[in-house]
């Protein structure tokens, strides 16, 4: 039995970049109105309709929780519970992700908490070729 050497992990979303020492985020920013988008390429801006093009933009790695749900039942095979969260990133777009490091109890979750964006292995998930992935996660800033 032989082990093939592990390939480097891949980004779990196109806006996660693994080309530097640390994973980083990069979004499209409309040259005309500054609106940010998550896709790697677009034909025009959904907000202003401009076709002037987009700049790559790196946001802050902190943000504010906007909304969330504590998920107790999901698609078959998905481990539960987990917290699905929408975060408004500082100087960036809104992003969806798992909020971790908080109890699964709405009474103990500050619905407008400040969070940091961190990167980690994609919960051990592998694609058909065995590749590992890096995903973003949210953690409460107050936990520092």
């Amino acid at each position: 039995m032989t082990d093939t050497p592990a390939s480097p992990p891949l980004p779990a979303a196109s806006y996660i970049h693994l080309d530097g020492p640390e994973p980083r985020l990069s979004f499209l920013k409309c040259k005309s109105c500054g609106t940010m988008f998550l896709e790697p390429e677009r034909l025009a801006c959904a907000r202003c309709g401009s076709r002037e093009g987009f700049d790559a933009h790196e946001p802050k790695y902190e943000g504010t929780l906007h909304s969330y749900s504590i998920v107790h039942r999901s698609f078959p095979g998905t481990a539960v519970p987990f917290i699905s969260a929408v975060v408004d990133i500082d100087d960036g777009p809104s992003l969806k992700g798992n909020l971790r490091g908080v109890p699964f109890d709405a009474d103990r979750i500050d619905g407008a908490m400040r969070v940091r964006i961190v990167f980690d292995d994609a919960l051990g998930r592998r694609d058909a070729d065995g590749n590992a992935y890096i995903s973003h996660f949210f953690e409460p800033l107050a936990a520092d």
Partner: protein, 378 residues
């Protein structure tokens, strides 16, 4: 431009029909609507069919009940599919080219899980980057409102208590039992704050409607049973910062409602009842505000005070709503109009909204679009 009227409408009892086809379900609804209008398939001049999971269902329906060569188009607009079919039929009559148009919505969902299917990716992202399940998506929409206005879990749960209660009076609803508040709150938690009893039910179903020009209604002497379409409005989602990461069910609804009120020349206070898109209990409260039934942040009071229950100031989802009637996607938007029509005709039985003269029907489909119709007793 002359008005357009509903002269025939039917909804089959929603439920599970694993051995039938969408065409068969749709055909049953169409025949009922034709009978209700007192016309035959030979009188129908054009037809629109709404169905999400299958196509060419419109033609297949007429292959079941009579092939007359009329123009038939199939439309799809997520959960606004049936309403979009109605709107296209309405527009066809408005062109002046057709005097009798038919719209039918149908869906066969037996066998589909309540959560739908996960999106494809190199690795599954569900539970890794949050959730894209519908219960969680609408939970997040509800939590957004709650964060602004302090809506409690119990207040969201009361929507199910109310709508399930309404459904006990609707023999065509799939879930017909009282669910007290504790039962709703203690049901299996799917995606907080939506418990299982706060999620709509995937079922099979169909509903159909016959629309006629004013000239034809008078010619056939149907004005006494006709329902006037005062407004038919459709909107797509305008740009919003968090959409589509957080699907925006509010903006499209707000635009469609505003357009509908302007078209009808009325205000929300002129309505006697509303059928709105309660796909999850968390959604209903948001739409009170989106549809201008209350001011900003007043939805909590609306549900607490019973204003939206049968007998209240503005009854909402007296049919039982998607939460209890069931939600056969393509049929839902037409079924809403069926409910309004029953009340405007005074035929809603035990759940009749007394003296109802004006009603509003609303749907919202992720992706995103929203349709609003306003109907009035002719």
């Amino acid at each position: 431009m002359s008005d357009v009227y509903i002269t025939g409408i039917e909804m089959i009892a929603f439920g599970r029909y694993p051995h039938r086809t969408p065409a068969s379900l749709g055909a049953e609804a169409v025949l009922g609507a034709l009978d209700d209008a007192g016309i035959t398939v030979h009188d129908v001049q054009t037809a629109y069919c709404g169905c999400v999971f299958q196509t060419m269902v419109g033609q297949k329906i007429f292959q079941q009940i009579g092939q007359t060569g009329i123009p038939i188009a199939n439309v799809s607009n997520a959960c606004a599919t049936g309403a979009t079919a109605v709107r296209e039929a309405w527009m066809a009559v408005r062109t002046g080219d057709y005097d009798i148009a038919l719209a039918v919505g149908v869906e066969q969902m037996t066998g589909m899980g309540m959560l739908g299917a996960a999106r494809q990716a190199s690795i599954p992202i569900e539970g890794l980057m949050g959730s894209t399940s519908m219960p969680a998506t609408f939970a997040e929409a509800g939590r957004e409102y709650a964060a602004k206005y302090g809506t409690s879990f119990a207040q969201f749960a009361k929507v199910s208590v109310k709508n399930h209660h309404h459904a006990t009076m609707n023999p065509k609803a799939v879930l017909r039992k009282e669910t007290p508040l504790e039962m709703v709150m203690e049901a299996e938690m799917i995606a907080y704050p939506n418990t299982k009893l706060m999620c709509s039910i995937n079922v099979d179903g169909a509903a159909a409607v016959v629309l006629m020009s004013e000239k034809k209604v008078r010619e056939l002497g149907l004005m006494d049973r006709a329902i006037r379409i005062r407004a038919s409005a459709l909107a797509s989602d305008p740009w919003q910062q968090r959409n589509p990461q957080m699907p925006d069910i509010n903006s499209a609804t707000q635009i469609a409602a505003q357009r509908a009120y302007e078209m009808a020349g009325i205000e929300a206070k002129d309505l006697d009842l509303v059928e709105l898109h309660d796909c999850f209990a968390t959604a209903e409260l948001l739409h009170y505000e989106n549809l201008q039934l209350c001011g900003a942040g007043e939805a909590n009071d609306m549900i607490d005070s019973g204003a939206t229950a049968l007998g209240g100031r503005i009854p909402v989802n007296v049919s039982g709503g998607l939460l209890s009637k069931g939600h056969p996607i393509g049929a839902t938007g037409v079924a809403n109009l069926y409910e309004l029509s029953l009340h405007l005709r005074g035929q809603a039985g035990e759940r009749q909204v007394e003296g109802a003269r004006m009603g509003l029907a609303h749907v919202v489909g992720l992706g995103t679009c929203s349709a609003v119709h306003i109907l009035e007793k002719a």
